[in-house]
């Protein structure tokens, strides 16, 4: 545990991958600063974030390839799943045993794989291009995503949850994996209301898990606060109705 607040670095205008880190920090009531969302005069803004990525700001270890990254004391670490693995025991959001931690991280990395595929629905060709410049490919990609990949990933997670007793994704208590699973379902509901609606009755466990996580007191307060950015068409989960057709 660090005495100073954690410093989270992420794009200020979107939930994106940063949201997977914000959720456990908020759920645990941890002290943290969302640096790029602070005013520049107070050392915030995206400029502050870029100083760490460019190497201008000295880091003990490799500089981050990209956001999100976290500063905890003198330690600067990047990669969403790596940050979650670091934070989980400090925030009381994973069990004690090595096996459980390995399995939590395994699920977190499978969620990360799913996130990459979700991102592909609007950026199948290149991150440097706008969605409008890769629309035909997005349409073709998303047909396979909605028809094959989304049911495969969600079906897998449903089975994992069910096998673990139906309350939690891993272990006997709430973990970062449950919070990430909430975010996945919430995001898919925003981006693909039709497709998720069609799947919902096949994943009753995940839908109920989503509701239980959203009702946790600190998270409910966070979700109702201005700190929870709205979903939008610059983030990971984007609502493009033409991609959510049958």
């Amino acid at each position: 545990m660090t005495a100073q607040p954690y410093e989270l670095f992420y794009w200020p205008g979107i939930q994106g991958r940063g949201e997977f880190i914000r959720l456990p920090l908020e759920d645990a009531g941890a002290a943290y600063v969302d640096v790029a969302r602070q005013p520049e005069e107070q050392g915030g803004g995206v400029k502050a974030m870029f100083r760490w990525m460019s190497g201008e700001q000295k880091v003990d270890g490799p500089q981050p390839f990209g956001p999100p990254f976290l500063k905890a004391g003198d330690l600067v670490i990047a990669q969403t799943a790596n940050i979650l693995q670091f934070l989980a025991p400090r925030l009381g959001l994973v069990g004690e045993s090595e096996g459980e931690r390995l399995h939590a991280h395994q699920l977190q990395l499978t969620i990360a794989d799913f996130v990459v595929e979700i991102h592909g629905t609007h950026h199948p060709i290149a991150v440097s291009l706008y969605y409008d410049d890769q629309k035909p490919e997005s349409k073709r990609y998303t047909g396979h995503f909605v028809g094959e990949r989304m049911p495969k990933f969600l079906g897998y997670f449903e089975k994992v949850l069910e096998k673990n007793g139906g309350e939690h994704m891993v272990g006997r208590a709430v973990s970062t994996v449950d919070l990430s699973m909430f975010q996945i379902i919430a995001g898919l509901e925003y981006a693909f209301p039709r497709a998720l609606g069609a799947l919902a009755e096949r994943i009753p466990g995940l839908m109920a898990l989503r509701d239980r996580v959203a009702a946790r007191p600190r998270l409910a307060a966070y979700l109702a606060s201005p700190r929870r950015l709205p979903f939008n068409e610059h983030g990971l989960f984007r609502r493009y109705p033409e991609l959510d057709e049958a």
Copy 2:
């Protein structure tokens, strides 16, 4: 350390993501069985692998979403970077400090992101389609990959290596990250000889690292053995000359 040999489960005909696990096992001279490459009569073959993924074979914890996965005693864990994080300290392929381990894993996950983008060069639309069924999209994707993403990732890794003294990607000794970096360079040289050739003089540190790793006695013996599968057009790194054009 487990008394029984490790059991690695991966597709038998390709290097793919499994190779990132084989390399440290081979470098450390660890006892392991590459299960799907053993005869079915001896409990091998892809059928044995699928039994763990389908849930037919009971696992304590979540079943793997896909290969590679590793059985170490009673523990079954999946996700390439998770397996490497588990194996590295047991094989003497990472330092002792928490910071170094977090940074090694951070780099491993950045390599995993790069691997996903490499896979996209031949499968930009769907894993369920053949390359031949997504050729125009592959060409467009790979133009951005070769022109933007490959220089960006390799330039980043070169800078990390240089900042760490030029000998190792992280810490003061050889780690799983160095072995993975070897595999990335070797694979890109197979798949994109022209594009990698054009970049080589901007990444002298990575090219020299590749040579040093390949010359490690146990790895040199492995690379010359039939256990090292050849690169081919079913794996991660595929040589399609039409994608390696200027």
